[in-house]
Symmetry: C2
Subunit: 328 residues, 2 copies
Amino acid sequence: MTLPVDLKDVEEAQARIRPHIHRTPVITCRQLDLQAGTRLFLKCENLQKAGAFKSRGACNAVFAASDAVAQRGFVTHSSGNHAAALARAADRRGSAAQIVMPSNSSEVKIAAVQGYGAAVTFCEPNLAAREAAAGEILETTGGALIHPYDAELIVAGQGTATLEMLEQVPDLDAIVVPVGGGGLLAGTLVAAKALKPEIQVIAVEPRGADDAYRSWKSGTWVPSVAPQTIADGLLTSLGSINFKIIRKLVDVIWRVEEATILRAMQLILERAKLVVEPSAAVPLAGLLESPELLEGEFTREHKRVGVVLSGGNVDLQRLRFGASTPTT
Amino acid sequence: MTLPVDLKDVEEAQARIRPHIHRTPVITCRQLDLQAGTRLFLKCENLQKAGAFKSRGACNAVFAASDAVAQRGFVTHSSGNHAAALARAADRRGSAAQIVMPSNSSEVKIAAVQGYGAAVTFCEPNLAAREAAAGEILETTGGALIHPYDAELIVAGQGTATLEMLEQVPDLDAIVVPVGGGGLLAGTLVAAKALKPEIQVIAVEPRGADDAYRSWKSGTWVPSVAPQTIADGLLTSLGSINFKIIRKLVDVIWRVEEATILRAMQLILERAKLVVEPSAAVPLAGLLESPELLEGEFTREHKRVGVVLSGGNVDLQRLRFGASTPTT
């Protein structure tokens, strides 16, 4: 079966978006290595434009559009990082952006989207209302819908984080990413498995939002029902295009507890000195909960593991930290 | 007058410490640029080993020592980043480290020093008690005192941050650093002015701990009396070796209010997604308070300004953030 996105798509995306995004650094932190029991290479997409990897896919979709489409503008529905990323990408293209946001979106996120010049339409906080509101705008403006995660150009764009990481650290044994809608995971899989067929790609998902795990385990797409997790970026349902890729290529999907996500987030803040949102801490949470990392000729401590820190957009006022984690 | 440290010392330090420290990334953040009204290049020493630039000087002093000295071990007095940096450097050399810390040092910092295998001796929280305790240990062990900031090898080591930054971003118009004891500022001056005589080096100091400003203004060393600032890394008195260099080479010293330091710290956390300690936010605070940045043919917005984010060791539990800063 041919997959909907291949390495060439990701390479084209990389060339297309290069002027519009950061080449984010890869950071190492021995204190985190000791906690995880393996050697970590943190790909800092929390330092990406608009604070998340979402700028990659949004820029790819916006700059791949024809001039005629760009003139009519771009539309999406999102309460989170894709909203700001699309608003920014459209602004750079000189296009209008209309963003449907749930009425309960945080003020900081609304201000960020409006700061990039996008028009915001509010709707009831559910998927049906979001899609209906976006549909109305599309009919009126003739603009293009840029789906937050389930679209080929978005997947190809998100895959560029892995292309970059493998340029920066070629000899990785594994890559660990969070999975929500699956755009980042699908892009990671396409890029990593084409460049290094032997690399292991591990996805991590909160137990309270484990539709990707259940879909992967059962081999059929399982809808997400009333997901609950502090990792707000991972509340979305797995996309169908993404599932085709994930089903074929992913090595394993781990599930993690909420308390481990919080602990991982605190470790990244305190030890790696990086501000990350809860979703970005989910891969480290997986490594903290899973002592049996990977089969093979190396012991865990000699593995070189890439971790995508997916985003840094978190309301610091809401953080309540526990006692500092002990130094090891 | 020949200065006590020159570019060659800094270059030797760079070669000496390379295996022992991180080459930290330089990060840009348009949202911070808009706040500062100029183009910022953030040298992330908060991501340095042991969480601060202090690892550079400590490694330089420890690895420059003779084997005979290394065998007797290293001694210092410090409540902060130098303590952990020296403990780590001594550990890497295979030497003993004895650290005198004030009895009111934070538990996290004590644990960090002990985590590197150093022996901690507690003393009353004042400079006389610290020096007396260190003196006793020196007499007993015959070890070498590694002063936290006022020593040639320390200055040369701290200067390597600027050597690196100018390799990473050669075309800087200015560099802004905090000043406390003056080791970082002196090292920055030696490296920057030798490599790029036209570059402007700006030091920033809290108004409540402005002995460097007063010394520079008056042309004579002014002692620090009862300094008060949230920037705990800058409570130290200006070193005399450092003052010789600063007096001759610094372009200007700015002073900032406590409220601006807190605002700058929050901006760096929220916008640049980096955890920094208050001292590391002092340079940005200076840029926020000083609209008249630099004379010359460029307007402020076209200036390229390197900022050393000096460290990231902050107790996150103690942070109490105000309302989020508005997006621009």
